[in-house]
Symmetry: C2
Subunit: 351 residues, 2 copies
Amino acid sequence: MSHAPASDEDVTFATLLDRVRKHVDGALATWLTPRVAAASAVSAEVGAAAEAVCGLALRGGKRMRAALVGAAFVACGEQDWARVERAMIAIELLQVYLLIHDDWMDDDDVRRGGPAVHVLLRERLGSKRLGDAAAVLAGDLSCGYAQDALLESDLPAERVLAAARAFARIQEEVVTGQLAEMSTHASVEVIHALKTASYTVTGPLALGACLAGASEARVAQLARYGRPLGIAFQLRDDLLGTFGDASATGKPVGNDIRQGKRTAIIAEMRGHAASEAVLARVLGRVSASDAEVAEVVRAMETSGAKARVEARVAELLVEARAALEAMGLPEGSPGKRWLAGAVRALGERSA
Amino acid sequence: MSHAPASDEDVTFATLLDRVRKHVDGALATWLTPRVAAASAVSAEVGAAAEAVCGLALRGGKRMRAALVGAAFVACGEQDWARVERAMIAIELLQVYLLIHDDWMDDDDVRRGGPAVHVLLRERLGSKRLGDAAAVLAGDLSCGYAQDALLESDLPAERVLAAARAFARIQEEVVTGQLAEMSTHASVEVIHALKTASYTVTGPLALGACLAGASEARVAQLARYGRPLGIAFQLRDDLLGTFGDASATGKPVGNDIRQGKRTAIIAEMRGHAASEAVLARVLGRVSASDAEVAEVVRAMETSGAKARVEARVAELLVEARAALEAMGLPEGSPGKRWLAGAVRALGERSA
């Protein structure tokens, strides 16, 4: 949303992101192509699932997580981020796995501007039941691919093993977060930390650090930087889900409201009488009209909920920057500049 | 956890299985308990999923896969199978993950003599939709646990890494097999090799061998022994699903027929006119009466399909025994005796 001229930091991280994206897009295609061919040779159904994984993996994606793997790798003393290419592929395929399962669970039909995988496979297999089962399996397949890719990393065994442990932890945390999201009691911020911060920020940072052979202390420092940044990222996501530009985010505005998603903004509206009344009428009603959705959006602003979430984002970004300072990385080093740039890119993004 | 490796010298596979079962039952409970507690602390839903994983993991299970990990470890030159305890936990939790997803996909309500996890979670969360999503997540959680456990193995990093690669391959193969099962064209034996042989026999053998630091040639020899044995195991499963004792197998007889499962017996009935007519009327009809199911069972016998599947099992067991001989393991060594015993235990089992 910011129209301020980009600072040097921004340009640097943006350039890294751009380079990583090109590299990872190519590497993902190269890595997946023989697997899709092998899957298709087994049966059309296996081929359809593998194609769906490949299609979603290559359909856009900012490769922000991959860039964070590279930034952490370099921040922990390594030179060449391309050496963690396999881990970059892995984190992107882990995301594909999570998106597939998540879209099916939330009944979200659109992903990255195209049909969600369960929608694609229902059509391809001519049945809701088969399509749903195939989508869950396609997610599982992507999860297996992700581990495969990570374990191919051409780095010392101890480092790869440490990264694999971090990877298993990411999976457990995300799943825990998704289960916690079903609760009406769990704290929204705890859910965000588990469900998003983990695989979006702290996980990729841990992968890069482990693959660089970093000490546990260093991995912990990176986590203190990554956790607030990851939560801020999800809060920004909640804001963009309602106040963002649908053509840029690839998700229809109003979706979150019609699905009754417990976003941070909704949580902040609780206890405000007028808001509660609107929410009771509209939230979670798939058939809610555009006018009703607009009422909720207005209440988000008048109740101050939106402003409070924005303030919390700002607070979390201050926390992330302080944690980065505390790491004592050499001033002006690429690692430090990239991690500083990531704070703006993730916390202040508009898509 | 104490056991004297020396006393393993003269134990049979049945005794090994018994010792492994006791060991793994205890180890699984010890390993899972703090995780269930941590999950419950996040929210009731997370706790319910973790409890469901733990409950299914501890509800019976023959621990045959765990025993095969130990047998391969010893056959590849190691002494003490308890050193692969974490891999044993891992393969059992991988099975739990697969059973949870599989039961949900097949709409199987009973598992190991109790309610399937999706049935349990639908009730616990008071909704089919939430329960199904939670069951898929509980499976994912168990998958994460499994990796976690394997990566904790206290053995050289290169060995653990090789085992982790084998583990990722198992997951990919099983998922591929499940997807192939949706097809009406894929060969039943290819499906069995992928879907069952992989995580039941060849996968556990590969884990044990990798953790013992075995050569690739040795791992390949074990695969040649394990593949026919694993397929025979699944054929035996198909036979027991219809001709077995439901109280011993824990699955109601007639289930496979009412669900229209493409078992090897059904595949063998194709082309036999009288059988085709019965199948067309009964197979895959959930509401089929016991008398109708009995008609299909009779046709399985009169068409010769049952006998042909039994003959194929015998053939596969001969193949497995020949592959075991070709490995050139010392005559009378525990590793060789256990692998020979496994052929009988898995291929000629009655439950």
